[in-house]
Subunit: 198 residues, 2 copies
């Protein structure tokens, strides 16, 4: 047995290399990943069952940064705290987002967050169907907002086609740091108001 | 001058090849695109100024499928109709979404939709700052929902960690076609209710 000339392969190294590829290119393939790690594709399969497991490892990296609040406060505050932390985590990995929604969730940290949301909404007397709809709404809004948080400070370019009403709206936000954060807080308030009580 | 052995290069062919790459891999690079079109990178630059223009061509493909309603109805109905059509278009191109939010918007069809939203909200007496916030909320929710529309029918896998409250919620939606559509309509109603009047 020779001494290994590269660090020993592990699920952790595989996940980090896949994350680097996703961040740089928007995706990963098993052959690309093997090339990046300087191993054969078959060595990868000694550590992971395939692409789907690697996607779950990536989800776990992003979700492990979500901080869950104490769950015994008023439901709207608990939900808002989870949404803020969830958005912050995914804003770090915008190109990961379409991969996350393309595969069924099973990572333990993700399930923990969804458990916390479902428990909080159930305690607030929302029924199971409403709970699922609200969770989906939270996911859709948070992931869209995480993409916006990673967007340029000025997400709309100048164009001769911009009409006066849109120009007036744009003038209130353009070139302002914190634009995406403010828009997220506005959306969060609208959402919670719109959900109302059970 | 010999007869060209491949179809003549055009911005349209470049955009379609870039869309194929994004759909297959999540992104594109100029060298990959040149290889796919069997031309040199420098030939590409005879037709497009660079990556940013290609991204706008892709946005234009997705946005040209958005159908704008008559703008003279009640504002909430106009906004809902735009949101439904906007989501349907992007649900066809989920892996395009992070590229869309990473570059400033200038494609004519996109500007036309934002003009319609701004005009509708302004006529409904929302101020320019609220108009920008509502437009951003619409973008975030619609793009997140478009990703969800492209998600598997059962977006949550089974896991031993699922707690009873989350399991009860999941049981109401799993394996049901139309799950994402229903959740979008629920979210749309919540959003419009939460926005309320100006």
């Amino acid at each position: 047995m020779g001494r290994p000339s590269v660090p020993i392969l592990s699920t952790d190294r595989i996940a980090r290399a896949a994350m680097d590829l996703v961040t740089a290119t928007g995706g990963f393939t098993i052959p690309d990943l093997a090339r990046k790690l300087k191993v054969s594709p078959s060595s990868l399969y000694n550590h992971v069952t395939g692409r789907e497991q690697i996607v779950e490892l990536l989800r776990e990296i992003a979700m492990s940064e979500v901080e869950l609040p104490e769950l015994d406060g008023p439901w709207a505050e608990v939900v808002a705290a989870i949404m803020r932390s969830y958005r912050r985590s995914y804003a770090r990995y915008p190109r990961l987002i379409p991969l996350m929604t393309a595969y069924p969730v099973s990572s333990p940290h993700a399930v923990e967050m969804y458990n916390a949301l479902a428990l909080t909404l159930t305690r607030a007397s929302f029924g199971p169907d409403e709970t699922l709809h609200i969770i989906t709404l939270i996911d859709n809004f948070v992931l869209g907002s995480a993409l916006d948080a990673a967007a340029p400070e000025t997400p709309w370019g100048s164009s001769p086609d911009v009409a006066p009403e849109f120009a007036a709206a744009l003038a209130t936000g353009d070139h302002r740091p914190g634009r995406a954060d403010e828009a997220f807080e506005f959306g969060l308030t609208v959402l919670l108001r719109g959900i109302g009580g059970p």
